[in-house]
Symmetry: none
DNA sequence: CATGAATGAGTGTTCATTCAT
DNA sequence: GATGAATGAACACTCATTCAT
């Protein structure tokens, strides 16, 4: 069955977890948690089913690892933007939203978000992680910026959290559009273009008279 | 079993499918499709497991019925708004968004949306139904209004679909917030207040100079 | 595959648990707990594997039911003997030991004892049940008889519990001999004859000079 | 790793099998054969799982080695007693029984017996070994002594094997009591005291009138 | 119509055994 | 010799679906 001389398996302790998580991301994203079969994940990762259990205790643990791995690399971008305090509000926001659109385009944030949404009731812990480590942080940065800008009279008054959701919401909608609707025939969506246009509009609305 | 004097017609028989769908909605919404057990749905509907098969061929059929039932009553509201062509753009939009917020608050749109998102890969048919009967129609109405307003110079130029997504996105985000994050400890969200503030802001941004 | 006209299964809610427990006893006795396969038990009971779970939550529960079922019918015999207080000690003991030998010959006490011994560490609860409901009761009856006889000067002094174990021990040994050694070629053992000879000898030793 | 000045010869190499068998005894005794995990045995022996296979072909082989190792050291004691032919029967028996009680207290006969009982059906070979090398020999010695004593009129007539089982049975019962019942809360048992009292009683019963 | 006992294919998890290093 | 990563067959348990009653 195997090519002659090919080892039945390679000893790759360091690389394995990453490969498995990548395979799991693909299968979970496609099937959802419950419908994903460990057989499929193992096959896609090129290992036996038993090998999964060398690195992850249960299917849930593997799922959690997938979510965590998709989260962490994306935190930096958000945090960085928080530092640039002395730039004008509009400049920071524009950079941040476009960066977010970029990230949502190139990283598997969409599939993971879909999974978190889908499994939030069955695995509240995941939703909690997602909230604490992604949503709350991102929203914290945004509301901080907005409140500071409001204090300076740059931004119209109003609940800062609502403003933040108004900034982000269309991006989320775009991501879900791509995940859910495009595969069933809906027109594709240029997330970056959506972000650019949205930020123009919303800034036009947000910026107080004096802020323009 | 029924109290004497009960209406002659068998209320139960006609009501059964509706009761089952309602029970199924509750269980699907809570567990997701795969993790929902027909035992639980039957128990919640107060019927035997076998009875489910008198009305629905498979679990998927039942799921489809749930989605359809949750969709149809909400279509009217959208259609109505489409007719009011001669009112100013801002007035129509304000009414439409607030109506949508209301609907999202009182009807199970949230749970159903969550399910559609979750199962879109496994049951593309559902996503298609959702797209064709909900999203496309709603978006069609909105883009129509926007394009007409752009033609009149009321609304700033730009891709009408993007504008529509910018209008709706924050509402979707609010709904998902309530479905996913509030249950795990995130601050609750007043969807109507979010809608009101968002519509103010976005209209301020959308309306062209001359349109104000 | 099935004979024409034969129903695929019969509805036998009342009979099933007993049939399953009987099948389980046979398989557990033969293989031990861990090596027993539910497939085999189901096949022997003439039901599907799934049907087992209609009556027993887990393999352990089924095992516990087997032990309990083997225990309860045997309690009566012990209790009865306790009542015959006014007969001479030797008469009671003779009757009791021979009765015990009879019971050990015709009921599955041997296999069950073997199982309890084997699985005592993994399922202490079973050993506890066995102790409380079988051993302690039996020993309580015996020590009570012995102590009363000692008080009357019928039986030589000494720890009553040790005397009781000396009475029972050879029977247990005989049972285990039949379970463990006879199947691998050891000479078969007439448990009743062993009991008769043992009770003669031990009574000769136990009875005090005045008691003979 | 080893302290300087350690003997030149590799102590480990020769000791390994013994260490593994000792670890295996502990784990098998605690869990039973099927539930014992080679991982645990390896860990307890301080070697890798793979190393087990350098010394034993299969789990069964290891199990057999455990049984054999527990058996052999105990054979001597029995054989010795067989030689002391010219002492009175009572003296020999008293010594032999008390020696057996001692052995059962300090050596792992109890756990091993439990295992043999438990696995006799699945590994008849073990039961055979146990029978041939332990039970048959011990019983042979005892029945020889008894028959000789009967011939001399020292011991009452009757099946010598039954007499032997009556001598040993209570000790076996004591051992199993300690293995099975004491761990689940039954009163502890002084095996030596049980042996002393039992031998007094049974000898009183066994010894013919003239033998006293 | 309605029931619920019964089915059996499907899947997560375990663990004795192997073998490249 | 020794390691421990990897395997894969085996098994307990689940649950959508069926059908005699």
């Amino acid at each position: 069955m195997l090519p002659v001389g090919e080892p039945r398996w390679r000893r790759r302790k360091e690389a394995r977890p990453g490969e498995i998580v990548a395979a799991a991301l693909a299968v979970f994203a496609e099937k959802g948690f419950a419908a994903a079969r460990l057989d499929d994940i193992a096959a896609r990762a090129g290992v036996s089913k038993g090998a999964l259990y060398l690195y992850f205790e249960t299917k849930q643990d593997l799922f959690a690892a997938v979510v965590r791995d998709a989260i962490s690399p994306n935190l930096a971008a958000v945090e960085v933007a928080a530092g640039a305090i002395n730039l004008p509000f509009a400049v920071i926001i524009r950079a941040l939203i476009e960066q977010a659109a970029e990230m949502m385009t190139v990283s598997p944030v969409g599939p993971v978000a879909k999974m978190v949404i889908a499994e939030s009731r069955n695995f509240p812990e995941l939703a909690r992680v997602w909230h604490d480590e992604v949503v709350a942080r991102m929203l914290g940065v945004l509301t901080g910026l907005i409140e500071r800008a409001q204090a300076k009279g740059e931004v119209r008054p109003g609940d800062a959290r609502f403003h933040a959701l108004a900034l982000i919401g269309p991006l989320l909608m775009g991501v879900l559009w791509r995940e859910v609707l495009t595969p069933v025939g809906a027109a594709p969506l240029d997330l970056r273009a959506l972000a650019r246009q949205h930020v123009d509009t919303i800034l036009a609305g947000l910026l107080a008279e004096g802020g323009r």
